[in-house]
């Protein structure tokens, strides 16, 4: 048994040595500029909406809706996956990435029907974000109540 453990350890080191590493600096730079562009677009949309006389809260809400719409549209047009491949976290973290995570399984599982396919599988990737997002907001709410 101990010998097997040693073999596994030795092999893990071999794999570590041979496996190519991702280009961290390059990937970070790409994530930074693409993520930055998405956020700047969000700000631009907010400013445009505010110029029509909406207040900050209303404009924020409308901006979110617009960005989610754009994320879904680009997913449906087979473009968002290419952006994601290039930008990584830069296009996953913004809300457009959340839209992509909801809609891509919906497209993929349409063949399994609208109930067990689209309806159920839609949450396979983004579901945990919703669950833990809600839990985190409850915890923050409780802390906020006491301070």
């Amino acid at each position: 048994m101990a010998q097997m453990q040693d073999m596994k350890k030795e092999y893990a080191q071999m794999v570590e040595r041979v496996s190519p590493k991702s280009h961290t600096v390059r990937d970070c730079a790409r994530a930074f500029w693409v993520g930055g562009v998405i956020c700047t677009m969000g700000q631009l949309i907010t400013n445009i909406i505010k110029s029509f006389g909406y207040n900050q809260d209303e404009a924020g809400l409308l901006t979110t809706i617009t960005l989610v719409f754009l994320g879904i549209l680009l997913t449906g047009l087979d473009i968002y996956d290419s952006i994601g491949k290039y930008a990584g976290a830069g296009s996953i973290v913004p809300i457009t990435g959340f839209a992509n995570a909801m809609v891509s399984p919906a497209i993929e599982f349409k063949k399994e029907g609208y109930v067990f396919g689209v309806g159920a599988r839609m949450f396979t990737i983004a579901g945990p974000v919703i669950v833990y997002g809600v839990i985190a907001s409850v915890i923050v709410g409780i802390i906020h109540y006491f301070i």
């Binding site: 073999m7 596994k8 092999y11 893990a12 071999m14 794999v15 041979v18 496996s19 190519p20 590493k21 991702s22 990937d27 997913t75 449906g76 087979d78 968002y80 996956d81 290419s82 952006i83 994601g84 491949k85 930008a87 990584g88 296009s91 996953i92 990435g97 992509n100 995570a101 809609v103 891509s104 399984p105 497209i107 993929e108 599982f109 063949k111 990737i125």
Partner: protein, 338 residues
Amino acid sequence: MGKRLGKQTVKFDSPPSIIATASTVGPKEGKGPLASYFDVVLQDPLWGEDSWEKAESKIVQKTIERVIQKANLAPEDINYIFAGDLLNQLTASTFGIRGLNIPFFGLFGACSTMSESISLGAMVIDGGFANYVVAEASSHFCSSEKQFRFPLELGTQRPLTASWTVTGSGAVVLAKNGTGPYITHVTTGKIVDLGIKDPMNMGAAMAPAAADTIVTHFQDTGRTPNDYDLIITGDLGSVGKELALELVKKSNYDIENVFSDCGIEIFDPVTQDTHAGGSGCGCSAVTLAGYLYKEMQNNKWNRILFIPTGALMSPGSTQQGESIPGIAHAVVIDNQRV
């Protein structure tokens, strides 16, 4: 037990012959370095169907029909089909051949299925239980991604160690009598697990199994790397190939000069963005049915050791933190009936 050699190898008394092969591949494979060797290159990965699963079944059906036709046989002449794929409950294979009325054994060996089907087909023929057998394996990039990984439209980055599932099916007809190339030996692999847990580095998970089967084959048969013109694994990719080479070297066999991998041959990693290489049951199946078979007929190689490799995990086992067991079955394909 006169046919057994050593621990895991059998040598056939009357080696079955491959009398025909057929291959169907997807558009991406059709742009790869081996494109000219394939019978059918699809322009559309759905092939006019409305789901990836149906498309894969159609690929299986058409490839098997084609190989029977190329062998100048009728479906009634085939005694058994040995086939498998990556989808749950082997639906790609079973749905594909349900109209053919041929006795069927369904196989799951993950990406090692092509040598599993050839091994069993050859044993059945040498044992006198069949005259003609079809051995086939298939995979489809889109149906595999859907089942094992992420939706196609999800914007993610694949690590550099990841491989690209080949869309395609390769089939061979094995016959009792024929003019070769022949299946002379089979070394059946055992499950080897050195604790790799990363499903995005399957080459590393499978390399120990490949090395184990290669070394066992040499020990069982008394042969050396010099006895082969080509030793080719299924889908280790660039990472797994390095590792297998090193592991085989530890057992004092140097295969470097004759060693390749179907996953490396089938795609150009620079222009096709396939990272470590091709994978899936279809990878070794179409490479054998297209490239290897045709070049053996051209006498580029006269004796090859063909070793498709499989990573035996499921999405559930990965999520439960299990390591990935590997398997590799070796088949000797020889232009001479030794």
